[in-house]
Amino acid sequence: MDWISIANAVINGVVIGMLLALPALAITLVFGIARFPNAATGDYMTLGAYTTIASQMFLGGSIVVAVLGAMTMTAAISLLMYFWVFRALAERSHVSRLIASIGVAFAVRSTITFFAGQDQYVVDLPLVRAWNFGGIRILPTDLYIVGAALIALLLVFCVMYLTPTGRRMRAIADSPELAAASGIRARRVMIFLWAVAGAFCGLGGALLGIKAVVLPELGWELLMPMFAGVILGGIGSPVGAVLGIVTFSIAQEVASLFVGPAYKVVLAFLILLCVLLLRPQGMFGRPIAAR
């Protein structure tokens, strides 16, 4: 295997990983604060991709407007589902919320297919040629995707670590009981959480729609790799989620060079298993005993 192919696979892995880092961060934040693995994350992405397509079809206009529209739509649906479903289950076990989120996932996907059918769509973008640096190919679109993801990630990390709202979020993730005993109202934080989680899934989905063909299973099929990335990074660690999913995506793309695309998922999960054998808490997680 020549090093140029490997370099291209790594670049591709970075792009996909950065894009998936958005929903992966949403998974981590929801897991840490609302305390369940949200199985609807993938379908919120799908919703974002379809909203982008629909907005281009019916409203015309620029891709930027379409992507912002997708973020707004998924944020709104995410908030709706919080008020309608997850808020009522807040005091129940996390398993009940997980099951409910699987239900939400199916509901979102069925609603999409009801309107859009099973057809495939592509986001309408002018074709651009890749820059070629002696065999190493870089697509300008990929740069935009990585740029958009980076800006969104930086914004949320600034909020998390530099603002009172972010401090409250981290306090609730640390200990809900102590947070309440410090006078922090969880409900206000939850509204912010679900809006951000929704918008991130929407952005991730829209960017994925630019890179791939849009079909109803788009996000659902990514759910397991995304969970794997989050676990690899260390559950509950936002930085870990980003680095975990990027590592996982690179591993997947490089693996596909050696075993073919059909088995790349298997190989990536093997890597995940090996890492977890050495470091059960993931790359950036804290050992449970220390808490």
Binding site: D174, E177, L178, A180, A181
Partner: protein, 247 residues
Amino acid sequence: MSLLQIAKLSGGYGDVDIITGIDMHVGAKEIVTIAGTNGAGKSTLIKAAMGILPRIAGTMVFDGIDLMKLQIEDRVRIGISYVPQVRNVFGTLTVLENLQVVEHAPGKSARIRDMFDLFPALAGRRGTYAENLSGGERQQLAFARALMSSPRLILLDEPSAALSPALTDQVFEEVKRLPQADVAVLMVEQRARQALAFSDRGYILDAGRIVLSDTGASLLANEEMGDVYIGRGQSQAAMPHAPSTHV
């Protein structure tokens, strides 16, 4: 009138009552200690007063306000603070953030300066994540966090747990100072003999019921009860400390 008045209080985590028929009160600027064997329901009683216990019945009045209808956050607002037995600081937040995050603290930055004056050891560690503090520093931060909202009543669940005898003395010195700042204390203590010595009053809890209540001095003098519930001997600090059993 008492600051906190509890009558016929019972409650628990599931269907079973862990505490039953509790009658107790705490006056303004009073230090009141709850003692009892492991599993007697001491932590449960403190949680009921803070509003954390899932199921309660009875009456609880704080400063003329009916507590039974109030959420935890609102109890903080009206002047009640709580230092849990375990996980009493936000480990993933810095020392400074642990104080900043507290709501209902008007004049927050001035209040934080007061806390650093009160606990100078914390001032030098304001950027340290709380999980990296030593046991003593951690306990100081737990106190400072609870005092941020300028409470009139502070609920302390075993403030000396897992501390060395020297650090225990230091923590007790801090507790003794609280009434001067117009803060009343309702405290659970394993080192009951030592705690009752500076408490105005005490309650002995057994299997979820109050079996005895008296002034701190009288409880210490009561020999038969003392042997069973408070522990024999002159000073518990001199004896090897039996760590509390839960994690």
